[in-house]
């Protein structure tokens, strides 16, 4: 079943956030939309080992914060996030686009960040698991994963939640089959699958109420 066929009621991320989070996520994204947030510059930690000529300047927004980074062409988005920006919530599990452990949002679309070159994020907005938090407060989607126990060891969980977030932005009211279909690219070796599906359903229900 194609998700497109059933996904009639599309919703913008902002609306999803406003409805789900009420004030919770609001303030975070409010801050993120401010024009005058100062840019953060990141240079690789290995300047001595990298040929200056191979460094390119990259501009993007990560969790609402403007970032200017100097990266080599082969740097992946997940390397930038984990190694340069120290956003360790995003995991690398297979490192080759087979498991979804590194899922983040790139302009509201769930992508494998191990499979995305950092330079391809030029001018785009990246949201990671940390970006769902409002200060220390959990996003309702994260809360649903705790409430429904949609995890065991927790290592694939950030990727699962970001994949679910990407789905809910496009389809705020998915049925179980649509959830499974859309999250089939995220492997959980503990196999907490039944509860992962339930977590997404609960998040959607909370949103729709």
């Amino acid at each position: 079943m194609s998700e497109e066929n059933t996904n009639k009621k599309k919703i913008s991320r902002r609306r999803f956030i406003t409805k789900t989070g009420a004030g919770i996520v609001g303030s975070y994204f409010l801050a993120s939309s401010l024009k005058n947030v100062s840019a953060k510059t990141v240079t690789p930690t290995q300047p001595l080992w990298v040929d200056e000529k191979r460094l390119f300047t990259l501009h993007l927004k990560v969790n609402g914060q403007k970032v200017r980074a100097r990266v080599t062409p082969e740097t992946t988005l997940v390397d930038l996030l984990r190694n340069e920006l120290n956003l360790k919530g995003t995991k690398v599990i297979c490192g080759r686009g087979e498991c979804g452990g590194c899922t983040v949002l790139l302009d509201d679309k769930a992508v494998y960040s191990c499979h995305t070159l950092a330079l391809d994020a030029e001018g785009k907005e990246v949201t990671t698991i940390e970006g769902l938090l409002d200060g220390e407060k959990l996003h309702p989607l994260q809360e649903a994963f705790v409430e429904e126990d949609g995890l065991q060891c927790g290592f694939c969980t950030p990727g699962q939640i970001m994949a679910a977030y990407g789905l809910l932005l496009r389809n705020p009211n998915p049925n179980a089959e649509q959830i499974k279909y859309n999250m089939a690219g995220n492997i959980c070796r503990c196999s907490a699958y039944p509860k992962i599906v339930k977590s997404v359903q609960t998040a959607a229900k909370n949103f729709n109420n």
Binding site: E143, Q152, R189, C190, A192, P194
Partner: protein, 762 residues
């Protein structure tokens, strides 16, 4: 209460063990039934849920340290070879390379029971360790690894157990490829077979399965002078401590192992890793912290797997269904180093049978070494046993459940001891009712049409009683908040949460006031290895004991403060009251404050298991499948899991464990397998694209039923472990359901479409 150390003997995983256990003079009163408790037995959300969903949980994989260096292990591309020369000069010249360790510049450190070294020039499998490269970045280390020049002398190799057992097979060790076989006899098998009216002999095969935890094996290693700290992704911090101290020849007090969160192990992280030793050696030389994390290919090749099996079972039964004799002759490949491939236990234990013969062989091949994997031996053994049990039932014209009930074992047959508890009958009954057993095809394969449905059952037996020694420390602060410290691990099963539940219930304080700290050898008392479904049944009684002692101390303190005898003190939800004068009372913080220790500390111990009962967990799983006879594809529609696991401590994490185990069992039954290429001796499907695991798309409807209650004969908490029981019967139940659907038995796992089509149309 005074304590003595006593020597106790009981059975653990089929082995008689002697344990020294701390025994209170008076037996501890049992923890109240779940109905009377506020937290234990309830649907409680994980207390570490926040860390895991927020991305703030720090796994060993995420650990950062100032000046941390990165590493890469160069591994053998050949299944069997000797290093003739190794040249690291070019690699060392690469900017950013800090150190390269090989067998040439390190001392020999014995590994795998003395069969090899941490760096050995004799390489016995694809993926065997050659060199450890440390660099400023992971990327540089990876590049340097490719610049190391190695000349190999390739040696003959063998990658299947069947071929390794032949006389002319290349030998991995001088005394041959077959380890000392495990033999066991009960009664007289041949005489038993003669008593039988019907006999069957069948051969089942199962595949090599790879653990594939999501977090790779990884460590961050740091020396502070002579003090070594390792953040490790492990199921046993104390096991790693002794492994590392032994390998490096340093005292255990110089080694600290820390594990807060770890991304799955399933048995592959039950020992110290070579990689941690390498990182420790390099870190010492460099004077910098070193991080080592294996990549997916290394995970597939070098850190464990479930051995395969080839099991021939003979069974004899009388017309009335009484089993008279069973034999189990099997072999399996354990890889290049000592391990075990036995899988006879289910056959030996589940059904009443006076005459048993077992011969199981573990065979060396040129592949990565096998390790314990979630119920080692039991998953493959149960698949085979439950298949032939169903076939015999059919031959006798009996319903599979009736046949199983006819041979129900009322006691452990080797020790002759009664079970501490056994609710397997209830599991059959309730499971059958839930799945709708009567909907099952009376004649296998009789569904109309090309898509056929079937229902099957399989039985589960496991030990999982827990064991001493395990200790837990409880700290109570002046504001009534508490900390539990225990050197065991939470590997995803919810240990943090259940230990908090027990402490909160005994002390009658809010759950949110209890914090739990696990997995630190420097700060925590010894806790069991998180394997064998040991953690919950071992650690909860230790916490319970610590909390009871704390309560005793508090009551004693309250009596002194209130000026009344101890018997006159009543305690409820944080308030101590004089039974005779309800106005004479004090709350918990007040008493802690008055006792004046600031932090009150007690330490509890897991007591011994009884020596007059045999402890097993039991269960029955029912699967309903749909088999498309045009494509051969099997779809699992539904699984009902009915288990006897003693007391339920947390129904939320319990059902999660059951569902997760069932899903792993489903993947093992239908898709997972290591494929070795015989001409090259290499693993073909190293990526997750090619090594198929179950995903959310394969999830059937799963119903979990618990048929048990607290088993106080085990411990005052009365819990049995559930991690392994969850997976044990799933492949067997699916195998039997497939037979019921199509009427042809698939005796080989995984049940892939090609095998189904072959079986149907040959």
């Amino acid at each position: 209460m005074p304590r003595k150390i006593k020597k106790v003997e009981y059975d653990l995983y089929g082995k008689k063990i002697t344990a020294m256990a701390e025994v209170p003079e008076e037996e501890l009163k049992p923890l109240a039934k779940n109905e009377k408790l506020k937290y234990v037995g309830k649907d409680i959300s994980r207390i570490d849920g926040y860390d895991k969903v927020s991305g703030t949980a720090t796994f060993a994989f995420d650990k950062e340290m100032p000046r941390m260096a990165y590493s890469k292990i160069l591994r053998s591309p050949h299944p069997h070879a000797e290093i003739k020369t190794i040249n690291t000069k070019k690699a060392e010249k690469l900017a950013g390379v800090l150190k390269i360790l090989t067998h040439e510049n390190t001392e020999q450190i014995s590994w795998y029971d003395g069969t090899t070294y941490v760096f050995d020039k004799h390489l016995r499998h694809e993926g065997d360790d050659i060199a450890f490269i440390v660099a400023e970045t992971e990327e540089i280390a990876n590049r340097a690894a490719k610049m190391i020049e190695v000349q190999y002398k390739q040696l003959p190799y063998v990658v299947t157990a069947e071929e390794a057992m032949k006389d002319d097979a290349p030998k991995l060790y001088d005394d041959g490829n077959v380890r000392e076989p495990y033999e066991f006899t009960r009664g007289d098998f041949n005489a038993g077979l003669k008593e039988a009216d019907e006999t069957l002999k069948e051969t089942f095969t199962t595949q090599v399965e790879i653990h594939n935890p999501t977090e790779p094996h990884c460590s961050v290693v740091n020396w502070d002078g002579d003090d070594l700290t390792i953040w490790d992704s492990t199921q046993t911090v104390f096991g790693v401590r002794s492994g590392i101290a032994g390998a490096l020849g340093i005292k255990e007090n110089k080694v600290r192992i820390i594990k807060k969160y770890m991304g799955g192990g399933f048995g592959s992280k039950l020992e110290a890793g070579k990689y941690s030793v390498m990182a420790a050696l390099a870190s010492k030389e460099l004077g910098r912290p070193v991080r080592v994390a294996l990549d997916r290919k290394e995970m597939q090749l070098a850190v464990g797997n479930r051995p395969d099996s080839n099991q021939t079972i003979k069974i004899g039964a009388k017309k009335d269904g009484t089993i008279t004799a069973m034999s189990h002759e099997a072999f399996g490949a354990i890889g290049a180093h000592p391990s075990g491939a036995s899988c006879f236990w289910p056959l030996r234990q589940i059904y009443k049978c006076p005459n048993i013969f077992v011969n199981n062989k573990s065979v060396y091949i040129n592949a990565g070494r096998a390790r314990a994997f979630r119920a080692p031996g039991h998953v493959q053994g149960t698949f085979a046993l439950e298949g032939i049990i169903d076939d015999m039932a059919e031959k006798l014209g009996m319903d599979p459940i009736d046949f199983r009930m006819k041979n129900y074992a009322e006691k452990d047959q080797d020790s002759g001891l009664p079970y501490s508890s056994k609710r397997l009958k209830e599991a059959y009954k309730q499971g059958a009712e839930k799945i709708g057993w009567n909907r099952r095809n009376k004649k296998a394969g009789s569904t109309e049409g090309p898509v056929k449905k079937g229902i099957g059952v399989a039985t589960q037996i496991w030990w999982g009683a827990g064991t001493p020694p395990t200790r837990a420390t409880l700290k109570l602060n002046t504001d009534g908040s508490a900390r539990v410290l225990c050197g065991t691990q939470d590997i995803g099963g919810g240990t943090y949460t259940i230990l908090a539940q027990v402490a909160a219930d005994v002390l009658e304080i809010p759950l949110k006031n209890v914090e739990v700290f696990l997995g630190d050898t420097a700060n925590h008392p010894y806790g069991v290895t998180s394997g064998g479904s040991l953690t919950a049944p071992s650690a909860t009684p230790a916490v319970y004991d610590a909390a009871l002692q704390m309560k005793d101390k508090l009551i004693s303190g309250a009596a002194a403060f209130l000026d009344i005898p101890e018997e006159q003190v009543s305690y409820k939800e944080g308030v101590f009251t004089d039974k005779n004068d309800s106005s004479n009372k004090a709350d918990l913080p007040k008493i802690v404050d008055e006792i004046g220790e600031n932090v009150m500390v007690t330490t509890g111990a897991r007591g011994p298991n009884p020596d007059d009962y045999y402890i097993n967990s039991f269960g029955a799983q029912f699967a309903e499948v749909e088999v498309d006879t045009m494509t051969g594809k099997v779809k699992v529609l539904r699984v009902v899991a009915a288990h006897d696991i003693g007391r339920v401590i947390n129904s939320k994490t319990l059902t999660n464990q059951l569902e997760g185990g069932i899903m792993q069992g489903l993947g093992y039954a239908l898709m997972e397998q290591r494929i070795m290429d015989k001409p090259t001796g290499k693993m073909v499907n190293v990526s997750w694209h090619d090594y198929k695991m179950a995903t959310v798309m394969d999830t059937p409807q799963i119903d979990s039923i618990v048929v048990s209650d607290a088993d106080y004969k085990i411990s005052p908490v009365g819990a049995k472990g559930v991690g392994e029981p969850a997976m044990i019967p799933t492949p067997g139940a699916i195998g039997n359901a497939v037979y019921n659907a199509i009427g042809v038995r698939i005796k080989s796992l995984p049940i892939t479409p090609d095998k189904v089509l072959d079986a149907l149309y040959g």
